[in-house]
Structure formats: structure tokens, C-alpha cells
Symmetry: C2
Amino acid sequence: MSVDQYRATFRGCPINASRHKPESIKATLQRLADATGDDEQIDNYGRGELIESFEREVAALLGKEAALFMPSGTMAQPMALRIWADLARTDYVALHATSHVALHEHNSYQVLWQLKGCELGESHRVPLLDDLKAAARDPLAAVLLELPMREIGGQLPQWDELVRQSDWARAQGIKLHMDGARLWQCPAAYEKSLADIAALFDSVYVSFYKDLGGIAGAMLVGDADFIARAKVWQRRVGGTLYALYPYVIAAREGLAQHLAAMPERRDNARWLAEQLNRLPGVTTWPAVPQTNMFRLHIRCNPPIFLEQGVRWMQQHQIGIIPPPYRVDDDALHCEISVGNAFDLLTREQWQEWIREFGEAMLTDNQ
Amino acid sequence: MSVDQYRATFRGCPINASRHKPESIKATLQRLADATGDDEQIDNYGRGELIESFEREVAALLGKEAALFMPSGTMAQPMALRIWADLARTDYVALHATSHVALHEHNSYQVLWQLKGCELGESHRVPLLDDLKAAARDPLAAVLLELPMREIGGQLPQWDELVRQSDWARAQGIKLHMDGARLWQCPAAYEKSLADIAALFDSVYVSFYKDLGGIAGAMLVGDADFIARAKVWQRRVGGTLYALYPYVIAAREGLAQHLAAMPERRDNARWLAEQLNRLPGVTTWPAVPQTNMFRLHIRCNPPIFLEQGVRWMQQHQIGIIPPPYRVDDDALHCEISVGNAFDLLTREQWQEWIREFGEAMLTDNQ
């Protein structure tokens, strides 16, 4: 039984514990057509009221001067670092070992963007002020901080610690860039507004298709000069598309639909982690989620778990444990990010299915 | 009267001599929803039958092994040149002065992609074999040839000349890359198939939103090894989007709808140029279009022409002369690319409107 088959079965379940309710392409396009005003005009190479008004909306939400819609975060983030590097006349940038830039972009920040990466802290924990100070032995242009840190289960630094890091970086003339792909999860955790959090940073990247259920797309947010520079780089990198409206409309709808629900989803994530931690062999990371997401360590015989899991999902049409991102000899590693798919069942129903799942899957599998 | 006002008025006309019939965002999204099968699955980071089957379709159409859907040509073309440069272990590439790469990308091929550009021929004419030989005094990895050459009125090299250039480049071990943004116009001009033309090149970029009426998007086409390398670079540059389906579906529909009409549109372009050349002060470039597009030189007093043009279009709701891309003291420079908007009137009707336009606009304006 392959992970691919498990993944396909999980995604085929009409009810999933992780992410959003499934929606067909046809239904999404129909929904976006319905959500579009009769007189809304096509954007053209980044210009036009449709895209510019949404950029203004997100900039205002984050308390910044300007914003620029981008096709992807992989495009947006090294671009932000390149801008800060050019202004500082140094190519050094500090980033955590689990940063998307370091892990998932084929070293683009080095090979294409000609930046030099400096280590920031240790891979299993959030960076601390002392880690920033250690990285700054090289002449840093910028520090990239991810909030929340996806690869370590959505952990966040303590608020006071984050403020200290921001104060220190400002005093050094080092720019702080936020990987805010899932920034939408942070206000509930910090009890601060999006603008309060963004105020600690010089530039912010946010994503529209993860928490917010868009099709794809991202934004860079910062001051007017930073965004003016980003527009030139966006053209250079081929990200100034002839039209971006399907992504813009989906992002706009997603923001309107999902943002207000983020605190409740965080509560659901904490509740869900508590339930799953009661199953034999299951441990969440962190034990109590700080945000809307967490990771799972499942002690099991992976081939047996995957095979039984496919059968269980086929029988019940419910996906509880997402496909593993890592398979060890004696364990699976998975990730849950609570979206609106969780709302398809009540907590009582989830509790019952989790108990049933644990009995079927995990009791004689230790 | 500004060019922007003229442009807005031209675009607001329900009938235009250039490009395609206007369609609202809402109508486009609705049309794409209708064109999507109930069971079509969302693509994910470039994978999935929806996107892969369309890549296979276009690769087959061009007689190549493989293809890769891209958000933009600005992303695709320097990427192709970078791949050839890496394989050849030299950064020199030859490109015409009017190449999109040289003119419209803020020198991305140098600044971001770290390529070195060599001049290729003269800016007002198609490159000849001797121009390739002259450029090859530097150790060239690749030569970029645009078919047809947009900035010089859609001109094409003679077929035999193109074959000689291809033969010579192959013999030298220099790769030929085609900017085929408007390749769809070439079969009628050469009386050759798309595959015949693409066979002269090692890599081809095609676009889906110009002749074919898609939303945005492009493809790189070549052999399997080239496309495998392009997939890595696409990830690096941030072009491997979480989902591309709105562009893919629009491109697929556009290819099905527009490709067969390209020869007829070339005939219409030649007929239209003939009519316009009869107007006082109007000259097309070339005098007889080779493809579906041409440029216009209009001898006039530009402020007066623009003001009268707006009034004429407001009165008749027909746009004949597109907004100028260049304004001189005594002339306007415009471009017409014949799409399906031309089909909204018969040739007889166009002839009558062109005569009327000439009388109103150009007779006392010389």
C-alpha cells in the first residue's frame, strides 16, 4: 500500500479532519463567477481596480502602506530578501533551517537570487534573540521569521520575545521579513491584531490558498518604496501576469469567508489534538497546539497502518489522519491544519469517529 | 486628450478591428465553469491529468517530447536560455534588439538569470544567417529567434533562410530557442505545420492569451531532458503554482476555439492593411502583412487625432485604430493584430466604416 494510494483515498473522503471542504473545479469557477460583479474589469499586468483595491484592503488589514499580489510565495520571499540585500549592499540573510526558502525551493535563493544564507537557531525550535545575534556575525541584510512555523507544528515565539527581536533588528539596521503564509492564525494565539503583528516587521508575505481557501497566490506587504521595488522584480521574474483575476477574486472571497473563523478553528485544533493524544501511539507536536495546526507522530507499523487506513476510509468515507509527509520504520509523521472541513461534523461526532478509528487501527498495531 | 483616455474609449467599443471580442470577467468564469467536466480534478503543483494532458496535447501539436505549462513567457524564456547556458557551460546568448527579453523584462536575463546577451542583426529587420555567424564570435549557448517578430510588424524570415540558420546552429552545437508567443500565426505564412516549424528549434515558448484568447499563461516545449530541467527552474522561480487550472482550462478552450481560424485571420489582416493603406497619411509595416498582425504609421497631429478619435468612437462605438504604442510630434505608431473581433462586421461593413473614419479623421489633418 503506497502513500500515494493513502493520499488519494484521504482526499477522496467527503469529510476530512484537516483543511477545507472539498470543492470541484467546476463548482469553484461557478462560485467565483457568481461572486463577480457585472461591471468588474479585467486586471492587466497588475493594474486595475479589481487587483489594486484588494491590495489596498490587505495592506490596510496589516497596517502597511502598500501591497502587491503575487502568483506564489516562492516568488515573493526571496524577492523581498533580494530587495533588502540590494539596499543594504550585502547578500547575507538569516533563515531558519525549516524555512520554505531553505527547504522547498531547490536553493533558488542562492542559485537564482544570489543570496547567502546564514543559520538561525536550531531546526526543532523557534529562533531566539541570541540566535539572531549569532547570525549577525555575518553582515546581515535581513532576517526571515516564519509565523507560525509550519515545519515545527505551527509553533510561535512568545510575543515579548518577538518584540525584543524586532527592537534589536531595528537598532542594528537589519530588516525583518515575515513568512506569514499562515499569519491569519496568529492573532488568536497572540491576542493581537494582524497590524500589531505586522508592525514588528519591515516586509510581510501572506498566502491566500492555505488558511483562506483561494486557488493560489500571495501578497507582499510593506512600505511604498519596498513595493515599488517589488513591482520591478515581479516583472523580472515573470510574475506580472497578463491577468490574475481568477486568483484575486478567489483570494478576496477567501478572506471574506475564512478570516473571521480563524480563532474558532484554533480552538478546534487544540480540542482535536487533545482527542488524538489519547489514542495509543499518537503524540502531537506541540502537545498543545499554539495555532490552527499541529503535527502528529504515530508509532505503528507503517505498511499495515496505511493498508488498514485505506480500508477504514473506504468503509466510513471519513479521513482523520492525513497522508504522512515522512515514513519511518516504526512511525508515521503527519500534519493537521484545521479548516472548514472540520465543521462538517460536531465535536461529539468527531469524538466518536476518533474512538472508533483508534480501536480499529491502533490497538493491536503497537 | 491623453493616450489613456483614447485607450479606454477604444477598449470600451463593442466592435474593434484588433484582437478579440470583449468578454467580461463574469462571462469568462461562467464560460470556463461550463467547459469544465464534473469529474475534472484540480491540478496540484503542476501535477494532475488536467494540466498534464494539455501539456501532452501541445507537445504533440509541436512534434516535441514534452511541455510544461508556465504562468508567463517572461518566466519561460530566460529559463530556457539559462538551461542551454548551463548545459553549454557558457552564459552567452544571442538575441534581437526587439526581443521581449531585451525590451520588456527590466534586463532580467542579465540581472536575475545571469546571462550575457549578444546582438543579433539590426533592429528593423529579421536576423539572417550572417548575423548568427557574427554573434557567434562570442561562445554562444543559444540563439533566440522570435516567430513572428512582433515589434517589427509580425515579419518572418523566409523559410529557406530559417532552415539554413537551424542547420548552421545545429552544426555549431548552438541551441535555437523560439519565442513563439504568436507561433500560431506561422503555419499559414509558411504553409508548414506547427511541428515542421518547431522541428527547426530545440526549445519553443508559446503563449495562450494573445492569439488564443486565454487568461494568461504559456508553455515551454522541448525534449524530455529539457523539460525535466525546466521543472526544477520553474520551482526555483516561483512558477510552480499550487493550482493553475483557470489558466489551463482557458488555454485549452482557446486552442480549440481559435487555432483553426488563424489562416482566415491572416487573410483578414492582409485585407485590412490594404484598406488602411488607402487612407491619407496611413502606412502599414509591412506594406503587405506576412502574418495576422501589422503595425501602422499614421502621419497626423497626434493631439487632434486622439481627441477626434475619442469623439468618433464615442459616436459610432467602433474602434479601428488601436491606441498608439508610440507618439511622435507628427505621427502615431499603432499595432493591429486580427482576432475574432474582426468577425463582428463583414468586410463590406468594415470598408464602409474605414472610409467614413478616414473622411472624418484624416482628410483635413495632414
